[in-house]
Symmetry: C2
Subunit: 584 residues, 2 copies
């Protein structure tokens, strides 16, 4: 049977092992073809082809319910559940998202994109089934890398006491996005080397029955194991050993690089559009390395995404013990940073906007209340960042800037970013969060300070009258370009770099009053809770007109960034238009 | 030696076992005397007297560093480190906080009040020590109840790979705040019954050396165990079995009730000021039970604090499997709720304002993106809630109301709360978060709707002119009282109940324009990111004066609630004064 003719898992349930093996080959070929042209998660999908076929072969989906962790390995699942065309026909590649999505299919239970949630979500499904006295199987799939997240532990701890059917398939490919870190991984290694027979067994210690599958890319082994646990009346872990990138030599050889990728040459594995431009990640590495080489007592932390701060594998080796990967465990990253700071080391944590929210409580309690001088750099914090609904980059600012004691900075360009990072790591008064500018590395050629101790002081970049444009972070460049246009029309706007997102410069705002009638605020961030609304509140009982530009409170999925920016007036044209009509 | 003469742990390091035993008796007596008069954490402190004496006896504090989880068990530690007077002399009871506090003593490393953080914080201390090539001991103390939190797992997982001295003292009293829940606790039970000899060992599975102490309230056993692990060059867990409430029969007999308490009669254990007034917790239980009895397919969730929703031990038994305690694991509570909702059960999660922030990412991703109709009731969300810096109740609103898809409601009184809870559990369109009113159960005798589907519709409670007061939640009652005063002065303010915290009623706000020149917003919540700033932003380019009243972005500790409310004008007098002078 051809992959393209598969409409539902029913179509594979009568297949022979030989037919299933052929199907796996077709799926892997479709995956490689699409991924090499389109980009996406490569290694996680290649490694799970056989396991997902075996799951749908054995379990009675969609009656039996499967939850995929992160769901970045769910492409085979999509192909088997009526969506093969989106992997075969180039014109339909974008018919499906890169994650499970209930809007696409009843086989997809949740929209998922963050790590370590599948077991917890599945405990709810199973508990509801039990309350309704149902008898279907509930299956959570989770990778070894995701087990490092606290939510995965909380889910396992609770799943163990369901006293009913609850199947956790641990997809162990001995990799996270990068390599794994943590004591748990020594145990997984021990279990692999003893074929599941070691006494120290994390899963058994939590109360699970346990089944080990040595050949996690072998259909026959997988089907046998899943058949054994189907309808099992108690919580059970099936620990399958898979190979990340299985079936594609370049992906097996360089697992980190092929976790996710842009289009590549399928023969060589080389990216089609070479990305040699230095970016804020590389630049961050350079700044930090320079500081370390000059003797700064610095430690760099990541929660499983080392390259966000520019730390590729070779660079991690160069840094040795001063580079700390805590695994996918943002709470640990924040709290450990506070402990490091307490004992005089200068911690720098680089993290994506979408993931920093996993540590809100720790940033508030472990860092901010304790005034620990931790430095957090938030990357991808922009409408121009990742555009999957689970990975949006515009909620970090109002989340973090409104925590007391935190100084949150918005560098406008490369030079200001460098200066702010250096200052943040040189002082011990404040926890400092830096919102790394979106877009390419560039300089606006504005004057940049070395010291930011005098908090909440805005800076006038261009002096004018009637209207003041306060533009945060990389929007400053857009605002300056808009000011150029407006000047040609005879307006003379003042342009201000607020620099601080965690407070307003009341003195400067007050001083605008005689010469200005309107203030336009511009933020590449959620409007609610942002700087603009603070400024609107400040002026609210004074005769100053204020208009706030920023991003709306909506979850958008796979949006067109330019379109969203236009709608929010976060473009040169948008700012020009708003400045023109604010007095009308 | 008298307890009052102990200035530092040096004073106990030469004591004989007999002298230490006498000291323990003095400490326990001081604890009981202070706690019975002053209130505080009872069981946790009584259970740890001997262990903390033994720690300071064996370890070279403050060179050796101890981090206490939650730090609600640290009273003995405070007595031994120069602060005994605050436990002996009634006039000095309030010289110390109820938690560790670096402002009080160099023996206190962090201000801590949330659960499950000690191991993570200590990994940072230990890593910094290793980078600095120090050789002191780093010790994390954590209770069995706290082990259910994901951050504790993340800390243990990372602590295991330090390859250096790292001592985790697990204080196992077989209790959380209430009873424990989760597979881990079966393992702890097994370890207790086998005296640490069972093969299934959670700590060993993560890579720790392990030492079991059966008699965790016996100084000799503890000293021997701590002596053994002192300077141990690898991560080690010391599992000590203690008795919560040890030495005080009423606290041993009713461990849950004596976890934390107000002043009590030391002879009988009965509270001195009987608290028989029904409150929003009891009322919540009544509403939910009524719904369940009428056939609603409801499940009530708690993350280790069952009584917040009124679920005392006897009531939990009545509810059976429809009451779910996930342990102290807020991430699990949120994600499990989403899973329950997916399969048609109606989940209700009651949680304190200070703790709901531990699940921001899960509320955003697992619930809100998925539009799961989960109902979350946030208690203690007020300046009049808990007043320790680690337990503030005014940050929840801007945190949660600014998550897309979430409907956040602010009932003004008892009747509106009941109505909102019932509506929230009857619909399946929105995740609903209800900010339970602060203060006592009372009715304002306002008209209350049954249906809140028409989101972001404000309600005019009293119609007037010139000035409109928009007062959220229980501030509506304060605003109505202020309006009464203003009416006597000849003003006729409009009073509006916004009801929704997650959006504004643009139509109603626009309609205020002809007859009103000013709007006063009143919130018992952080100003930044609140409703007031949204309203200020809405009116910012229109000729309407707006003044926002709400709470400042500061961490206050053990503050006087009335004073803070006065400073923020959140009183009848404050609102009257602001309304009077807004036009000046």
């Amino acid at each position: 049977m051809e992959l393209k003719d598969i409409k539902s898992p029913d179509d594979i349930r009568n297949m022979s092992l030989e037919q299933l093996t052929d199907l796996a080959a077709q799926i892997r070929s479709a995956l490689l073809s699409k991924l090499s042209k389109h980009g996406g998660h490569i290694g996680p999908n290649l490694g799970m082809v056989e396991a997902i076929i075996a799951m749908h072969y054995v379990f009675d989906t969609p009656r039996d319910q499967i939850v995929f962790d992160v769901s970045h390995q769910s492409y085979t699942h999509k192909m088997l559940t009526g969506r093969a065309q989106a992997f075969i026909d180039e014109e339909h590649y974008d018919d499906v998202t890169g994650y499970t999505n209930p809007d696409e299919s009843p086989y997809d239970l949740f929209t998922i994109g963050h790590t370590s949630t599948s077991v917890s979500l599945a405990t709810g499904l199973a508990k509801a089934r039990d309350l309704k006295q149902g008898d279907w199987n509930v299956i959570a799939v989770i990778g070894d890398g995701s087990l490092s997240g606290g939510e995965a532990f909380e889910g396992l701890d609770n799943g163990a006491v369901l006293h009913s059917n609850f199947i956790v398939i641990v997809n162990d490919n001995d990799m996270s996005i990068a390599e794994n870190h943590g004591g748990l991984y020594a145990d997984l290694h021990l279990l692999r080397t003893t074929k599941g027979k070691a006494d120290n067994n994390y899963f058994r210690s939590l109360g699970y029955a346990y089944r080990f599958v040595e050949k996690g890319n072998d259909l026959e082994s997988l089907i046998r194991a899943f058949d054994d646990v189907k309808d099992y009346p108690n919580p059970v872990v099936v620990h399958i050993v898979t190979e990340k990138g299985h079936g594609y030599a370049p992906a097996v050889a360089d697992k980190e690089h092929f976790h996710w990728g842009m289009p590549f040459n399928i023969e060589t594995g080389q990216p089609i559009h070479a990305d040699d431009e230095p970016d804020f990640s590389d630049f961050t590495y350079d700044i930090l390395t320079d500081l370390k080489d000059k003797g700064s007592d610095i430690a760099v932390i990541t929660a499983g995404t080392p390259t966000v701060s520019g730390f590729t594998a070779d660079r991690r080796r160069l840094w040795g013990s001063r580079f700390i990967d805590v695994g996918i465990a943002e709470e640990q990253a924040a709290a450990m940073a506070s402990g490091l700071a307490k004992n005089g080391v200068r911690p720098f944590w680089g993290v994506y906007s979408s993931f920093v929210q996993r540590a809100y409580d720790q940033i508030s309690q472990d860092i901010a209340i304790n005034k620990s001088p931790v430095v957090i750099a938030v990357f991808g914090a922009s409408v121009f960042g990742m555009n999957d609904v689970t990975h949006l980059g515009w909620f970090d600012q109002s989340l973090l800037a409104n925590i007391p004691n935190v100084v949150m900075l918005a560098p406008a360009d490369k030079a200001e970013y460098e200066s702010m990072v250096k200052w943040a790591l040189s002082q011990t008064t404040y926890p400092v969060i830096i919102r790394v500018p979106g877009g390419p590395l560039k300089n606006l050629n504005i004057e940049v300070d070395e010291d930011y101790q005098d908090i909440n002081t805005y800076k006038v970049i261009r002096s004018g009258h009637d209207i003041a444009i306060i533009a945060a972070g990389h929007m400053l460049g857009t605002a300056l370009a808009a000011a150029d246009v407006l000047e040609k029309e005879g307006m003379r706007p003042t342009v201000i770099n607020p620099r601080y997102l965690s407070g307003i410069d009341e003195e400067l705002l007050s001083s605008l009053s005689p010469d200005h009638r309107a203030v336009l605020t511009v933020e590449d961030a959620l409007l609610d809770g942002g700087v603009g609304q603070k400024i609107a509140s400040f002026y609210a009982d004074r005769p100053m007109m204020v208009r706030n530009l920023g991003l709306p409170k909506v979850f958008l999925d796979r949006y067109d960034a330019h379109e969203v920016a236009m709608d929010a007036h976060l473009t040169v044209e948008g700012i020009v238009e708003q400045a023109r009509n604010v007095f009308k």
